[in-house]
């Protein structure tokens, strides 16, 4: 399961970086950066609930969980 960011929608509000600090940091302009350096960070099973919450709380609906 991976976290996909719709970059055309993301405005770097930063809620996801608070709800998933294990996976995401913030770049100098506020946008989320995957800590593992990939385009779509893998979501470990113990983080799935947090990831779902981040997806639900994104104010721009820019996040999606994809099965890859």
């Amino acid at each position: 399961m991976k976290l996909h960011v719709d970059w055309t929608a993301c405005d770097g509000r930063g809620l996801c970086t608070e709800l998933l600090p294990e996976l995401l940091a913030r770049d100098p302009w506020g946008y989320p950066v995957a800590r593992d350096g990939t385009a779509e960070p893998a979501v470990a099973p113990h983080l799935r609930a947090h990831a779902r919450r981040a997806v639900a709380q994104c104010p721009l609906l820019a996040l999606r969980l994809v099965a890859r």
Binding site: V5, T8, C10, G12, P28, W29, Y31, V33, A39
Partner: protein
């Protein structure tokens, strides 16, 4: 001129020999085209197997196997095919050259692809200047009833990202030509929700020849992994800048020789376009194909070669390209919109030999993780690649710039790139 009857096929025309396949037998009008190449063969899904045997790869830059896209789209219903001639790359002129000199080869390929995938609609996405001539070519074909599927012309804006696959589909749908977030592959659901095939026009032209002359003929030149010929746009310090056709695997220096060779000693050659990489002067024996260039950090891309003379500064020229690329951001994705101007600004300090900025080279490379993989398209990735390639290829110049001078001789005060080249 119009005829209302199709040109009868008397016998198959001989296959083009050598590497003058696309451009050698070019004919702008339908009658000459059919006389030279013969009628468009009847085609259906079996053409896809022949394309697979031929090993045809996309000529738009990504070199994706053409048969895979065709097969994926053919698996769907009510498909759409789009010929992409947007060519947003300023250093490339091959697509408009091809459409000017051999439009019917491209249109044959479009019709054949449409028949192979069972498409109902076909589009040609092209620059404004070519809409008129292509409208005339389509009128000829309509009169001769050559095309089973009508072709619509859609004008492409003159921007760098307008030729990106999802931007093409957006424009066909009537929206602005901006890349979109990728949810589903276009081959499954693209324009208007239909399975969509987006192919570079040069790929379609090769397809039209393979349909006539077969996969074995196609594989006679080129390499095993990348068979066939490609169109190279050669510019910069060469005697005769222009669009040339060569076989994959031809050494870079050999392709430059097609354009009359370098007219002075070369410092480097930009391979693959503005999202490509620099090859140093000593690496020009490498073949123009993916496998030969990969160890050098480069790839053929859409066949762009720009020769940098010894007298020019690679960092200054790269800085000008980065400024352009930053300005060509679609502006949709934060990392690209903000990161590219930052990258261009830092690189600009390096190009201008600003000694007062600490750890400048490290600051430039530190920006890479903020740009790679973060965006709806690969514009930031390609730009980072160019910057990194310049730092590697011009490493001695980087040291010189950081010390306040430049290895290029006879340059005026750095900060302004000497620009010349294409008139568009």
């Amino acid at each position: 001129m119009t005829t209302s009857t199709t040109v009868p096929v008397r016998r198959p025309r001989p296959a083009p020999a050598g590497t003058g396949r696309l451009l050698g037998a070019g004919a702008p009008d339908l009658r000459t085209h059919l006389a030279r190449h013969g009628a468009v063969p009847a085609a259906g899904p079996r053409l896809i197997a022949e394309i697979e045997r031929s090993g045809l790869t996309g000529r738009g830059g990504a070199a994706f196997p053409a048969y895979r896209k065709l097969a994926a789209v053919a698996a769907g219903r009510r498909a759409v095919v789009i010929g992409n001639a947007a060519e947003g790359e300023p250093a490339s002129a091959k697509d408009r050259t091809l459409l000017t000199h051999a439009p019917h080869l491209v249109l044959d390929g479009l019709a054949l692809a449409a028949a192979a995938v069972g498409a109902r609609r076909a589009y040609l996405y092209l620059p404004a200047a070519l809409v008129g001539p292509l409208r005339a070519a389509l009128a000829e074909r309509r009169a001769a009833r050559v095309d089973p599927v009508p072709v619509d012309l859609v004008e492409a804006p003159d921007t760098f990202v307008a030729g990106e696959e999802s931007a093409v589909i957006a424009r066909i749908e009537g929206r602005p030509a901006l890349p979109r977030d990728k949810r589903v592959r276009p081959t499954e659901s693209g324009a208007f929700g239909a399975p969509t095939l987006v192919q570079n026009v040069e790929t379609l032209a090769h397809l039209a020849l393979i349909a006539r002359h077969g996969a074995d003929w196609f594989r006679r030149v080129g390499t095993a992994a990348q068979p066939g010929t490609f169109l190279a746009t050669v510019s910069g310090a060469v005697a005769r800048p222009g669009v040339y056709e060569a076989a994959y695997g031809t050494p870079v220096a050999g392709v430059l020789d097609l354009a009359g060779g370098a007219d002075q000693a070369l410092r480097a050659v930009l391979v693959g376009g503005y999202h490509g990489a620099w090859l140093a002067g000593g690496q020009l024996g490498a073949g123009m194909d993916r496998d030969a260039l990969r160890p050098l950090g480069a790839s053929p891309g859409a066949g762009v070669l720009v020769a940098l003379p010894w007298s020019a500064c690679g960092l200054v020229e790269t800085s000008a390209i980065l400024d352009y690329l930053a300005g060509q951001s679609a502006g949709q994705c934060g990392p690209c919109l903000h990161g590219l101007p930052r990258l261009a600004a830092e690189f600009g300090l390096l190009a201008r030999r600003d000694r007062h900025v600490e750890r400048l080279a490290q600051r430039i490379t530190a920006l890479a993780p903020f740009l790679q993989g973060r965006g709806a398209c690969h514009h930031p990735d390609g730009t980072v690649r160019l910057a990194g390639s310049a730092l590697a290829a011009f490493a001695d110049d980087v040291s010189a710039h950081l010390a306040g001078h430049c290895v290029a001789v006879g340059r005026p005060v750095a900060g302004r790139a000497v620009v010349a080249g294409w008139s568009r």
